[in-house]
Amino acid sequence: MATFVRALVRRRPLVALALVALAGIALAAILAPWLPVPPPDRIEMANRLLPPGPGHPLGTDNFGRDILSRVIASGRISLAIGLAVMALSTAAGTAAGLLTGYYRRADAILMRILDGLMAFPAILLALALVAALGASARNEIIAIALVYFPRTARIVRASTLALKQRAYVEAAVALGETDARILRVHILLNALPPLIVQSTFVFAEAILADAALSFLGLGVKPPTPTWGNMLDDAHIYVATAPWFVFFPGTAIVITVLCLNLLGDAVRDLADPHAAAGRRRPGRQGVPAPAQE
């Protein structure tokens, strides 16, 4: 692990910065209740919409609540949602990818369904799903994971199709190993690098999707703060209190940018060929992180 991180940082010095920033954001989110900042829900109507200054380093919001504490408290929710989406869509995508890559019959049906799901613009489908299921953190996680898992499935499927042809897999088949063991030991383990890269991108996408849904009032509801619903509260004050709009958005951008930097660097390290001259824009390779 240490060797891996060192190799990563040597090739991309910026990755060191991204790792430090991500660690800081994660630590702040975990330690939020114990940090020396005002409680995120303490209302001080006398101190409404104060610009950044002493006592409130990032200013206050429309209820006089401290923006720094709310940005940190939001991180807890937004990162947790991102992690949950990543776990769910990686699990579902891996299962679907292994099945479709390994069994021709599953491929014919399941892949058509996944193709159909990918024909919807991501945010629009997530929006409609949450509207039907009802706005809550759980439904939001299900909706975003449902939108993004077909992309993971495609990547695992491509790896499975390639690995299935390898001599050691054919040898395992000849030795009478069970399909479950072949898929787990011989295929999944060798398909991990692109899968890990994709999971990083899904994490980043999930944070962006959560921001958009919460901004539209379809995510976690106030008073529990998320980066997205803070922006929803803030956007009407863009003229009078621009800092209220600026800081929650900056938290999103830094988090997502660091995740994308990390995913990009790991991809280049795992697949040097892809880093130099990339192949034709096929639907096989790891796609560039797509927005919203």
Partner: protein, 313 residues
């Protein structure tokens, strides 16, 4: 070419089937009875029964699915509960701003992305290239609605150059129309430019490694001629495919950006329909946008095959 087109069309059928079934199922995902959810707690039993009948919810699910497909194939997406008009008319009335916004954003993105991508490839590993790659990553890491809010803060509030929000129909003049769409289009284009520029850079790098580029340089062609005449045109071909994908992202982003800029587009229609629990409209818009996306990608694929004879199905 005809065989390729036929093959692509045939491959489309199952995708369209899945798209249709997914859109159909949206209404049935509502926990409990959709009719009472739509009408709210104050509705009488008679009203609920009437809406159940209007929506066809009183029939067995497979029958509903068949009837629904029959309606959709005749271009009937049902009626809006709130607006009391056909869903297709509501979409049609909201199409203008969305079409203008996505077209303007795509044009801006292409105009910036292709030259800078080619330049970054030519200067690969240089300072320019590194800065370029960082900007590309930044583009895909910024929520476009937040970019939009910042643009409002700078260009509309502080500098007073452009309107804060609102839409001006092109019938009131092209200038005011473009001015009302410029900020949201820039917000959307930033992300798309990143994706397109990256593809332009990668495919130019690949082309620059080809034998015919070495030949061109070997016969003494100037670097500008090599770049424009030999590399650029071949690198453009794979870049065309991104345009199809980026349209989905633009339409997705437009949903949120239209809300920020109060543009009366399809995205705004769907967001308002969600708060009105107007499920036929939500279902109709989702289906409509997916169809547009599938058709544009088909066109892009056909175009791709037409300009690059090496591609065959």
């Amino acid at each position: 070419m005809a065989r390729y087109a036929a093959g692509r069309l045939a491959a489309l059928a199952p995708v369209l089937l899945v798209v249709g079934v997914t859109a159909f199922l949206l209404l049935h995902l509502i926990p409990g009875d959709p009719a009472s959810v739509i009408l709210g707690p104050d509705a009488s039993a008679g009203q609920v029964a009437l809406l159940r009948h209007t929506l066809g919810l009183d029939r067995p699910l497979p029958v509903q699915l068949v009837l629904w497909f029959e309606r959709v194939l005749h271009g009937d997406l049902g009626d809006s509960i709130f607006l009391r008009e056909p869903v297709t008319r509501a979409i049609w009335q909201h199409l203008g701003p969305t079409a203008g916004l996505t077209a303007l954003a795509e044009a801006l993105a292409l105009a910036v992305a292709i030259p800078s991508g080619v330049l970054a490839a030519w200067k690969q590993h240089s300072r320019f290239d590194q800065g370029f790659m960082l900007l590309v990553l930044l583009g895909v890491s910024i929520p476009s609605f937040w970019t939009g809010l910042n643009l409002i803060a700078v260009f509309a509030v502080a500098l007073r150059l452009l309107p804060v929000a609102g839409y001006v129909s092109p019938s009131h003049g092209v200038g005011p129309w473009a001015a009302s769409l410029l900020l949201p289009a820039i917000a959307l284009a930033f992300t798309q430019a990143g994706l397109i520029a990256r593809m332009a850079r990668d495919s130019t790098i690949e082309v620059l490694g080809e034998d015919y580029i070495r030949t061109a340089r070997g016969k003494g062609a100037g670097e500008a001629a090599v770049l424009t005449r030999h590399a650029f045109r071949n690198a453009l071909i794979p870049t065309v495919t991104v345009v199809g994908t980026s349209l989905a992202n633009l339409l997705s982003g437009a949903v949120v950006v239209e809300t920020v800029f109060v543009l009366p587009g399809v995205g705004n229609l769907v967001v308002q329909s969600i708060s009105r629990r107007d499920y036929p409209v939500i279902e109709g818009v989702v289906l409509f946008v997916a169809l547009v996306y599938v058709l544009v990608n088909l066109l892009v694929d056909l175009l791709y095959a037409a300009i690059d004879p090496r591609i065959r199905y």
